[in-house]
């Protein structure tokens, strides 16, 4: 049977790969445009609470992030909720200094538009968050954002 076949039909024509770089470049462009550079690597686990009324934070350059959660590495850092600023754990008292530093890094007209975004885990207790809020008031960083993820009404009640 095989011998009847024409030899030329056996060869599968190769797939042209000349356009592959272009396709990859297109993907690359997409990612370069839609994403932003990672600022910090998280050292705490954060499951953001759900909310239905979330609003997007418009200007990224005006946002300062504060992370609060239980350390990922519980063996070293314990399992009490802690505050992470930039790439290190900090006591709550250092927050004021941190905010001041962040304020210095911005131009004059941006300073009063600065927003502090609290990224906190939904299962931690309010104690540390209240402390953080008090500290922010002392630093007069009054515009804050409780970071949340968009969810259904059912998910919101599931926060409890």
């Amino acid at each position: 049977m095989i011998s009847f076949r024409d030899k030329t039909t056996k060869k599968v024509p190769g797939i042209g790969t000349a356009s592959l770089p272009d396709i990859i470049f297109m993907l690359l462009m997409f990612f370069m445009i839609t994403t932003t550079m990672k600022q910090t690597s998280l050292m705490v686990t954060i499951k953001a609470p759900f909310a239905t009324e979330v609003k997007k934070l418009e200007k990224k350059s005006l946002v300062t992030y504060v992370y609060i959660g239980i350390p990922t590495n519980t063996k070293v850092y314990g399992n009490i909720p802690r505050l992470q600023l930039n790439d290190a754990f900090q006591p709550v008292e250092n927050l004021r200094e941190f905010v001041e530093q962040e304020r210095q890094d911005r131009t004059e007209d941006q300073r009063n538009k600065m927003t502090v975004s609290l990224k906190a885990d939904k299962d931690i207790e309010m104690g540390i968050i209240t402390d953080v809020k008090q500290e922010l008031r002392k630093a007069s960083a009054l515009k804050i954002n409780y970071s949340a993820q968009l969810g259904t009404q059912k998910a919101v009640f599931g926060n409890l």
Binding site: I24, L28, P49, V63, D123, E125, K133, N159
Partner: protein, 197 residues
């Protein structure tokens, strides 16, 4: 002579690999998520030199929401399930029938709307325990925000046939609606509600 003129073709075979490497770099080093959440404004810290002034707020103007460490809600001295909070808050903020137990209304001249009775002095007071879970706190905040948003949307739709969120930040129509339904959520100075820790 003729042979020299021909420039050798650039080998583009590895172009795809180079592009892939760049792609992988961007995939790892960047994030896509834009931050979302509930925006709030904290009250400024009281001046320590100044005498503590107690603001007298009429009882009918205050909507007290307490959340204890077991994540239970006490609203206006009644135990309430969280899924009833939104409607209760809406009724309080709007006071549609001028109920004497709900906040007092005052006539205010609002652009686009003319003279209108507004619950200008209402305050939603939210107090939580240090042991309240953050998730519960956020659920309560979300429901209160939702109450305001629903009222604002209802007004925006009936008057301008638009959603409240569709107005620009400095749109005068937005300001007008905010004047009718001002977001007044007050968070008391921290204290323990219901039991010490």
């Amino acid at each position: 002579m003729r042979k020299r003129r021909e420039t050798p073709e650039v080998n583009a075979g590895s172009m795809a690999d180079i592009a892939f490497q760049l792609l992988i770099f961007f995939l790892i080093a960047t994030t896509m998520d834009t931050d979302k959440g509930l925006l709030r404004k904290l009250p400024p810290m009281p001046d320590p030199n100044q005498q503590e002034e107690t603001k007298d707020v009429k009882e009918r103007n205050v909507f007290l929401v307490l959340v204890n460490r077991n994540n239970q809600l006490l609203v206006e001295n009644q135990v309430l399930n969280i899924n009833e909070l939104r409607n209760k808050a809406k009724e309080f903020i709007d006071n549609p029938y001028n109920d004497p137990d709900l906040p007092e209304k005052e006539l205010v001249e609002v652009p686009y709307f003319g003279e209108l009775a507004v619950t200008k002095y209402h305050v939603i007071s939210l107090q939580n325990d240090r042991g309240t879970s953050y998730g519960t706190y956020m659920a309560v905040q979300n429901e209160l925000t939702a109450a305001y948003n629903e009222l604002r949307n209802r007004l925006a739709e009936s008057k301008f046939n638009m959603k409240f969120d569709d107005f620009d930040e400095d749109d005068p129509r937005r300001a007008a609606i905010e004047e009718i339904y001002p977001l007044r959520i007050s968070e008391a100075e921290p204290r323990n509600v219901g039991g010490t820790k």
